[in-house]
Amino acid sequence: MSLGISLHQLSKRFARGKEAVSAVDGISLDVEAKEMVAFLGPSGSGKTTILRIIAGFERPTEGRVLIGGQDVTDLEANARGIGFIFQNYALFPHMTVFDNVAYGLRAKRVPAGEIPRKVAEILEMVGLKGVEKRFPNQLSGGEQQRVALARVFVLDPRVLLMDEPLANLDASLRTRMLAEIRRLQRHLGTTCIYVTHDQKEALTLADRVAVLNRGRLEQVGTPLELYEAPQNLFVADFIGQANLLRGVVKAVSADSAEISVCGRSLRVRRGRIETLKSGDAAGIAVRPSAVSLGAAREAFLQGRVESRIFAGDRMEYEIEVEEGVLVRAYGALPGRGFVFSEGDPVGIHFDPGETMAFPL
């Protein structure tokens, strides 16, 4: 049976010397039953701390944790019925794969006769038949990951928490395991929170993504919402790539704002227009895909190609528009369009429908 998770005003402060440092700062969030939510943020954003509080490894300084409507804040970790996947897998090095997977069953006092069948079933499900007698240090990284998953799934946890589970795998294995984890989670219908600092992982895997920064929740939404309608400059920058420019608000109307950037005036329709005030500083975010390049003369901004990189399916440029201000843009491959050389003067246009502005 899968249960939802509710976090109410969760805070965690550590004492560092005399100062109190906030690792988690007033987080409230509801995760639906059977939903997969990714916690995405740079290191030090508090995402792992929240996960450890939900698991019961750490106590919150303030706030409550509810699982399936029941307050578990004061419950010991072993009484919460939560599955936890550790970044380093935390497989017991002195036990075989079988004993690792059977560990939780034995702790739960499942009759000894049922254990071999359950272990065999779950090992088959994660694609690990026949390694029961091996020890963790005799397995590859991907196999260890599967054992860690089997050890948790065999208990049919109400809630599954994963702390950067793929961080120790190489790129191709990571892609395979990502699909595998998604398949298992869907198949078993387990509520899942997945912590990562890799936006690609978060966006491909999760139903919803919670973006965290410095212990605060910046935005929660579906991957598409976050990409299409970021609520602040941090999310705009962190999800997908964006060129960030500084500007000053000239005028604000109902559906657009006029902002001066690099000495030019730009009309912006997206972002948090309603919060801007005339005369304020504003941050502009333009995705590289919304930057078009052309002849220098009648362009919105003029610049000089600083660097050019062949990126497989396209060329990537960095263009200096002012001393120290670089704009990233994509261009066609040689033979399929015009290719600029380093040092070339170039004109830049921003697609007004794709340009976003936020208060600074």
Binding site: I82, N88, A90, P93, L155
Partner: protein, 562 residues
């Protein structure tokens, strides 16, 4: 809504009543067998006629022999530290820096370990048989009279006994130096000698200092070797304190001499600890990657180093074979006919000593292992109050010279509220509270190395505290506990500097019997005792390893991951 303060919790977990009870028992033991004897010793040294006074110290310093003994002790310790560090470096360099066949490397390591499992007189007896009056080598090379006794014999015997300590310290640090650094220096144009002088040697300097101080301390507090080798012309503090008590029946005088020994020994220990604290630049890179093989020392230097190392190795093997052969001859130096009568002697006259020693060692090992596991896991926990003090006091008897501890025990348990003289209890207590230090430290270190996520994984899989401890934590620290147990057994079997003050008619020890044989010039019997002792130590060591395998099948490779 959660109000501020209402859910604020202390990070420090509540102290379990079980842990509290353990702490009380532990502190009681430490108070009786560590703090109390030391207090009684200090009281004996600093009291005369019922009031505090420095009279006792002044008295021993008025004696020319004691002053000479102090100087001798320091000179000897310095000499042993220099020669032992030198040989330790040569061996460590050979094993870590010269490309040698793997088998030969293991052979060198094996030879170096021999002195650790031997009774303390082994090198002294072997040297006497080789170079003493009528010695094998003297007759072979027709040297008419050569006096081994005094400074030279003591120096050589202690160097042979203690250079393995330097070897262990130095091979660890040389192994930690990434050969890439030497390759970098070579690619920048340095010759092999220049690379050694400007990279290898400076990077191993902390290890050299550490080895020097360890050897200085070992020699300063050594009792067995000078007792056999030093003779009357070369008194040192440890033997003087012993003779003062056993020869002059002057407990207070002996205690005071041992106090004179304590000060430099403590100073050296503190210096050594601060050296180790200052972490060397070598070990902290934390980068795990493929490492290239060491480049070697160059042909001529390699040959020189290897010849020296081989010569000493052969000499050590020669000395051990003398002990072995010596145990089978009728009278060494006189009648070299083969006989088993020495072993007959060992197993009849010496049987009681063998039985007593094994009994005491087994009791000490069992008790000490439990105690070390408990103390180690308590002092590794953050929430335990006074855990630093617990760690320090439990190491105190180990830091103090054996002579000091032995005399303190005699003073404390001969009279007063707790009379234990002549019992097995006092011998077992001495071994446990003195030699548990290694087990405590290794248990603590092993616990610190266990990733907390393993215990968290166990909790999140539904296991409680007890299950987690017995199924996860304990098996993972078992190898460290077993290492402590092996050490405890070996030293309980071979100890003498402290125990010699505590043996009685009721309880005698193998090492003391060996000493008696040596003083009665029964070298063949002494050799037979030594062989038996070494065999027992090897057997017990193997048995402990076997037990570990049975308890934790995967223990050997267990700690590698996570």
């Amino acid at each position: 809504m959660a109000g501020f303060g209402q859910t604020v919790r202390s990070e420090r977990a509540r102290l379990d009543p079980l842990i509290l009870a353990l702490l009380v028992i532990l502190w009681a033991g430490l108070a009786v067998f560590v703090l109390y004897p030391l207090a009684r010793l200090l009281a004996a040294v600093f009291a005369a006629d019922g009031s505090a006074s420095l009279e006792n110290l002044a008295k021993v310093f008025r004696s020319a022999t004691t002053r000479k003994a102090l100087v001798n002790s320091l000179v000897l310790a310095g000499a042993v530290a220099v020669s032992g560090t030198f040989w330790g470096y040569l061996f460590a360099f050979s094993v870590t820096r010269i490309p040698l066949p793997k088998a030969f490397r293991w052979f060198l390591r094996g030879v170096v370990v021999l002195p650790f499992v031997s009774p303390p007189f082994t090198s002294s007896i072997a040297l006497t048989l080789a170079l003493g009056p009528g010695g094998l080598l003297l007759r072979l090379f027709r040297v008419p009279d050569f006096n081994l006794y005094g400074f030279p014999g003591t120096w050589v015997a202690e160097t042979l006994t203690y250079f393995p300590i330097a070897f262990l310290a130095l091979s660890a640090i040389l192994e930690a130096i990434d050969p890439n650094l030497e390759e970098a220096a070579a690619s920048l144009g340095g010759s092999r000698w220049r690379v050694f002088r400007t990279v290898t040697l400076p990077l191993s300097a902390p290890g050299i200092a550490n080895a020097f101080l360890l050897l200085f301390g070992a020699s300063l507090t050594d009792f067995a070797t000078p007792l056999v080798m030093a003779g009357h012309t070369f008194p040192v503090l440890t033997t003087q304190a012993y003779l003062q008590i056993t020869g002059m029946y002057d407990l207070r005088g002996g205690a005071t001499i041992s106090f004179v020994l304590l000060l430099p020994a403590l100073l050296v220990y503190l210096l050594q600890q601060s050296w180790v604290e200052r972490k060397s630049q070598v070990t902290v890179t934390g980068r795990v990657g493929p490492r290239s093989a060491p480049r070697g020392a160059g042909l001529i230097a390699g040959i020189l180093v290897l010849s020296a190392v081989s010569a000493l190795t052969l000499f050590i093997l020669f000395l051990y074979s003398i002990i072995f052969l010596g145990s089978f001859v009728k009278v060494w130096g006189v009648d070299h006919g083969l006989t088993l009568k020495n072993y007959a002697y060992v197993f009849t006259v010496g049987w009681k000593a063998i039985r007593d020693t094994v009994l005491i060692a087994v009791a000490a090992t069992v008790l000490g292992t439990v105690l070390a596991a408990l103390t180690g896991s308590l002092s590794a926990r953050r929430e335990v109050p006074f855990r630093k003090a617990l760690g320090f006091v439990s190491l105190l008897n180990y830091i103090l010279p054996g002579t000091v501890v032995g005399i303190a025990y005699v003073i404390a348990f001969n009279s007063g509220p707790l009379v234990l003289t002549g019992t097995m209890t006092i011998l077992v207590a001495l071994c446990v509270f003195r030699y548990d230090a290694v087990g405590i430290r290794s248990t603590e270190a092993a616990l610190r190395q266990i990733d907390p996520s393993l215990e968290e994984a166990s909790y999140s899989l539904g296991a409680g505290r007890a299950t987690t401890f017995f199924r996860v934590t304990l098996p993972l620290v078992a190898p460290a506990v077993a290492a402590g147990a092996r050490y405890l057994f070996v030293v309980s079997m071979t100890a003498i500097s402290a125990t010699i003050f505590l043996v009685s008619v009721r309880w005698s020890l193998l090492t003391v019997r060996i000493l008696e044989c040596v003083t009665e010039l029964l070298f063949a019997e002494a050799a037979a005792f030594s062989v038996v002792l070494i065999l027992i130590v090897f057997l017990a060591s193997g048995a402990i390893l076997l037990l570990l395998r049975l308890v934790v099948p995967q223990s050997s490779g267990g700690l590698r991951r996570s």
